[in-house]
Symmetry: C3
Subunit: 154 residues, 3 copies
């Protein structure tokens, strides 16, 4: 029986959630670009101080760490620490054929938790709020990996 | 012939190794959380200095770099540089149908090398020990990618 | 109909591009190792100042940030922000069965854009050149994710 087809609603759930997470991770790169352009700073490479069409007015302080820009990089790093693990755990979940409702709760729950984490981080909410959404996303991935491992080893 | 089923022992090997690596990568995030709570510091966002139930006694030095916490972040980064590459190379390996013994040696070897790397890093072993386990893991992934590429291009 | 087989030329395109990107990401780690050895510095862990066969002459300044080494780490980070997203989006692309020419243009285009980005970064080309190749790669991944999402939701 093949689980990896568009006829399998669990796979479709996984595919939609994963595509949304691709857009999240790539969009985070563009948020960093946007913030660097808006602040005209927060750069990280010495050669970025050369005069170019995108940087007509270079100054040494453009290489200083700027929280507005660095915040987007930290969000990106947090994504990298969580989303590829979701992609892998979700794939294994599809292969061990969970009930559809469980896949939907876990996978759309992960997407919602990561979206809420991003909003909390970008708007500088208190640590405990951000940590709550991080925890939900992380525990979902851990649960999916354990669920798959359990089914594989039985 | 379908390689992506639980009837294929090469796929099961890949799935077990990959699930363990999901747990490793997500667990590394929790090691950072544990170390931040134990040291009551090593934070990275300015808003983490607000008084909250999880931080009842905020102080500016909580934002300073702390090696105990930063070590866990460096371990996490090293995971991100190696484990997603393993997931992809392992998947391709499954698709080109290697002998089972080879898949087991490579994939469980990768898991063992990364576990040993984590212990060496966390316990501050000398660089050369840590580098040895990094090298084993990295060469396994490179070998798997070349093995798959070879089979694909033949 | 099974898309995940070596008989499907779209999958083979994806597999070749993905294997090349595994080699890119793992090779970046070795570029960092090579640069650390050549500069005899740019280390990040305090224990790397111990005298070992690989570091016979330890000095405190070996822990200072060195642009030659750090550049390779920044390239690695940029890879991590883009390549796993490509692997996932490409997988979904395969599953929704695009025309072969489109898959080839996008996937080999991504490989070429990342290779050009790496050369531009390593040789310290002006920011705008590096940004152009980053943009091409990033837009390809975003397009693939949207293409798959569109097919999944129709």
């Amino acid at each position: 029986m093949d689980h990896l087809t568009l006829e399998n609603p669990v796979f479709v759930t996984y595919a939609i959630a994963s595509a949304l997470m691709v857009l999240k991770i790539m969009g985070q790169g563009w948020m960093t670009v946007f913030r660097m352009m808006r602040k005209d700073g927060g750069f990280v490479s010495p050669e970025d101080l050369r005069k170019t069409p995108l940087n007509p007015n270079p100054r040494p302080e453009q290489l200083e760490i700027d929280d507005y820009v660095d915040r987007s990089r930290r969000m990106h790093r947090n994504d990298l620490e969580n989303i590829p693990g979701f992609w892998m755990a979700g794939f294994l979940m599809v292969m061990v054929a969970p009930p559809l409702w469980l896949a939907q709760v876990l996978m759309y729950g992960f997407v919602a938790a990561r979206a809420a984490h991003a909003v909390a981080y970008a708007t500088k909410q208190t640590h405990d709020i951000r940590a709550t959404f991080y925890t939900i996303g992380s525990l979902i991935v851990i649960f999916m990996a354990l669920y798959a491992l359990w089914a594989l080893l039985l």
